[in-house]
Symmetry: C2
Subunit: 588 residues, 2 copies
């Protein structure tokens, strides 16, 4: 099945109404992001992802990648698709125009990224990593390295990788052993083995730019002795042409549960005497540079959850509208399509509302990141950044856990057919399973939320967020529409629970860290449930207003209200359960 259609209407609604793209387009540097421009981009991206990338998704799953003598072949058709992807200018959509990018705001580019992930998650991993590497170079590379590498990475002519993990060092990077030996010419020789390197080797481009974490000889132990190096697969001559092959080899690729089209490589650096590497930024600050791009990377993975949920929803919706089975329990009609059955409706609505809610939070957060770069007032920039950073573990942890749940519902709606691989529903679920693990597990997101994002300003950002949510609660509760009222009531309860848990964790996290660490994931789930519900409440208010104003998109806007109400009735009650569990850990 290759039937992905980008949900442009919801994307536009969310970016315009909830992430305030029109406001962002008034900020310096983002003036090109007009409504017409957004239309054009979304339509083109929908066409490309639907027609080129989506049909290759099942191919990638079935054929996988092949390793032979150190070379990796991507699945049939991928090389050509990647060429088209680059030609369309999609790779550099949000990158600096100074190096050939389009410089669009994240709140617009996010929709394109979602489409690419929905259409073909395994494919999307390659540009995601290249984008991360680009950001890292922008942060800390010297002018010369930027000159040599950046434009080619932005165009997509060369791709990028992140070489962090080693067999003994996964979540705990303090245990890194790869080492870098300084050379007389100012370069370094890199030695070590890295694992789980996505697109560490592949056949879609002529050169691959590896960013590698390694230790200098005199480095202090632990995370403060890690430096970041640029290690190209092929050395680049002074004139920019490709030179000799560097001492970097792909030793093998993994046999994985999902994203078969994305080669996960074991990379060997320096087995022939040392891989030539270039220090990025200052020595021993590698982890810090990596964390600069962590926001973007984690946001991107959260978006993968949204994207897979959307794809699975479309797939299940289409099946449920075709498959006839059983009698209509209410009308008694003899043989109906299964989307008439209340429990199937419930599952479809659960998929839809959870995807919409997570999408809204992801786009909203992308907008905050735009503002954190482009607002003129430094205080405003800082506040937007802190709020974005507070929400990123929610986008990542919440989006990915939702993605697993929702793709599982997609299988369930297919019944026995869902278990047959050719149906395609199972792939989304298998692909989704990595998203709660890579770029920091859900547990790590939860710790980041509490021990970094909440505690670093003693809850000040949280309080600002709560005040925002409170405003939405007031608007909903004072509205004369019963649906909005009900949504407001459930949001109010959720907010109240989140506040109580936040008070409690602020009071006890430092003195009783074990309780807070045990409560962390339940607290993250609580935060996700309520902030997603906030987005749904905001969406309902705006949709209601536009309906009252006689907006032409009545069916879509009514759908937003129904979806928000469903979320309030079926998802928001979980906030109470997460809060109770968290309090049991914190107080118990």
């Amino acid at each position: 099945m290759s039937d992905y259609r980008a949900p442009i209407q919801d994307m536009r609604f969310v970016m315009d109404e909830l992430a305030d793209l029109p406001g962002i387009a008034r900020l310096p540097g983002f003036e090109e992001a007009t409504s017409d421009m957004a239309d054009a981009i979304l339509e083109e991206a929908a066409k490309f992802t639907g027609e080129v990338l989506a049909p290759l998704n099942a191919v990638g799953d079935r054929e996988g990648c092949r390793w032979q003598d150190g070379a990796v072949s991507t699945p049939p058709g991928w090389k050509e698709a990647y060429r088209q992807y680059c030609e369309g200018g999609w790779n550099g959509i949000a990158c600096s125009p100074a190096f050939g990018g389009q410089g669009l705001p994240g709140a617009l580019a996010v929709a394109v990224k979602e489409m690419v992930c929905s259409a073909n998650l395994a494919f999307s991993v390659c540009p995601l990593l290249t984008t991360g590497a680009i950001e890292a170079l922008m942060t800390c590379a010297s002018g010369e390295l930027i000159e040599t590498y950046l434009a080619k990475m932005i165009s997509g002519e060369w791709t990028g990788t992140m070489n962090l993990t080693e067999p003994q060092a996964g979540s705990d990077l303090a245990l890194l052993r790869s080492r870098a030996e300084p050379q007389a010419d100012g370069t370094y020789r890199i030695f070590g083995q890295k694992i789980f390197i996505s697109y560490g080797e592949h056949d879609m481009v002529d050169n691959i730019v590896h960013l590698v974490l390694a230790r200098l000889p005199d480095a202090p132990p632990g995370v403060k002795g890690i430096s970041l190096f640029l290690v190209p697969k092929v050395l680049v001559n002074a004139d920019g042409s490709l030179g000799a092959r560097n001492d970097v080899a792909c030793a093998s690729i993994e046999h994985k549960l999902g994203i078969h089209g994305s080669p996960t490589c074991v990379m060997a650096f320096g087995e022939q005497g040392g891989a030539v590497g270039y220090l990025l930024g200052q020595a021993n600050r590698g982890l810090e540079y990596m964390f600069v791009m962590m926001n973007e990377a984690r946001h991107g993975v959260g978006l993968q959850g949204v994207a897979l949920g959307e794809r699975a929803y479309q797939h299940a919706l289409a099946y449920a509208a075709e498959r006839k089975q059983g009698r209509d329990a209410v009308t008694g009609e003899a043989l109906v399509t299964i989307d008439h059955h209340p429990d199937v409706k419930r599952m479809l609505m659960l998929m839809k509302s959870r995807v919409e809610a997570a999408r809204a939070l992801a786009y909203y957060t992308a907008g905050l990141l735009d503002r954190s770069h482009a607002e003129s007032d430094e205080n405003v920039r800082q506040q937007q950044l802190f709020l974005a950073e507070f929400l990123i573990p929610l986008v990542k942890g919440g989006g990915t856990e939702m993605g697993i749940d929702v793709t599982s519902l997609g299988i369930q709606i297919h019944g026995g057919m869902g278990f047959i691989e050719e149906t395609g529903a199972a792939q989304f679920w298998r692909d989704a399973r990595i998203t709660t693990i890579y770029e920091g597990t859900t547990g790590i997101q939860a710790n980041d939320l509490i021990f970094r994002k909440l505690l670093r300003d003693r809850g000040a950002t949280a309080q600002r967020l709560f005040a925002e949510i409170e405003r939405t609660v007031s608007a909903l509760r004072s509205h004369d529409d019963a649906t909005l009222n009900a949504i407001g009531k459930s949001l109010q309860e959720g907010l109240c629970q989140w506040r109580e848990v936040t008070r409690c964790v602020l009071a006890s996290a430092k003195t009783q860290p074990e309780g807070a660490l045990t409560a962390a994931v339940p607290i993250l789930s609580l935060a996700v449930t309520v902030s997603n519900g906030w987005m749904m409440g905001r969406a309902a208010l705006i949709a209601r207003q536009r309906l009252d104003d006689g907006d032409a998109a009545a069916e879509f806007l009514q759908g937003k209200c129904v979806s928000a109400r469903f979320y309030a009735d079926h998802v928001m009650p979980q906030a109470g359960a997460y809060a109770a569990t968290a309090l049991n850990c914190l107080v118990g």
Copy 2:
């Protein structure tokens, strides 16, 4: 990894203390189920499943089954393992001694079944179906058919299948089209295509006994016109020897998400002029006979969820005790195994407590089924049967949904390694995914609970169950141990919520079926959460008592209390969320 060790201590605790095996062993027909007998059986079964079946689990996943020219080869080693399984007498452990079975109570046999499923789910599907077919034959076959087939199925020499599903008829069997033409000799000719037939063809035995649903020429439409036929793969001569091949063919096998070792066949009946079939019982009562064995089959699938959860738990526990990563957040110790990290502990405890709770409900229900057969008083038998039938959708729906959640946590604990197939954690999750679908989806379990099991006696069985739970609540709350008190409090709240929802659904299900149908799965989840919590509460009371009595198994019994408390703190709060959602559907 082939490191399954049957959790004999917990199995014995649950069957003795919660399912009252000693009481059941006093009932006529079950006298052999002494404590020594139970010890011997569990030890032998643990040995066989751990040493023979478990190591073949990954082999089956990797190699799968092969179809060629209508023949199906099972994975390497399976034929020999099946031979040993039969030689050990495991197939007929709970079957009638009159035909070579051992006649053991279900409350004991259930542990052996769990072990087989834990060790190798794909393998276990074959005996599960044979057992179902045996039950169907006992219910409705003539003496002659019983004479010819039963003993060989109980010994395992021949296996059985269930041929229900057709491409257009899945959950809705009213749509069946396979037909049976009466012949002058009293036999029938069967025509039609069946799909999703597990072990419809394989190489482990010489004959396969297909039970096939089909329509007679004069049958009324819908479910009341379906008859059940016995259709052997190979015809049996009057002397019991094998004769000519019947007109039954395996047209292909499916490429599935999981249980690769279990061949899922498309079966073609009658393409060469008609498959010889024998009517079982009376015409047009086929579905009724199928439902007789549905209790057992659904219970068995619920147990599969428990079994996979247990296996995944053991796998994750072993990994977490070996993998070193990160610093101890509380003691500050430098490099610790990950089972020191509070969030990993939380996940492991969530796995353990949810598996133990679901196991307890499954074993308890098996005990009720034993009593429903063996109690002398007919009223008691009837009450036990009604309670068992009330709980079976909870065992099935709850056990299988838990199995998916818990195997997913197992992957999560492995981090990136969990996504690599060779690690083995992913297989449990893939295998688990079918269990919420086959033998009736979770949605069908929920409808069965409400529209059949709850409404048929207007809640009388539910009220009896609530009164039982209330007694446990009282014992917990009046106890002077704080842990038991806390468990009692959470159980009391859950019971209160379940009662309220039950009142509401009894009042509205007939007049507003759509609300009840939408609320069905949340209500099932509520019922599962509370009744599993009840089992944990009972377990904690008994464990506490035995500890106070100076029982030697102190570590195990303390573990039961910890597990029950964890369940109360981390799982039971969800009851409130399910109840709120259900009420939103019923009232909203």
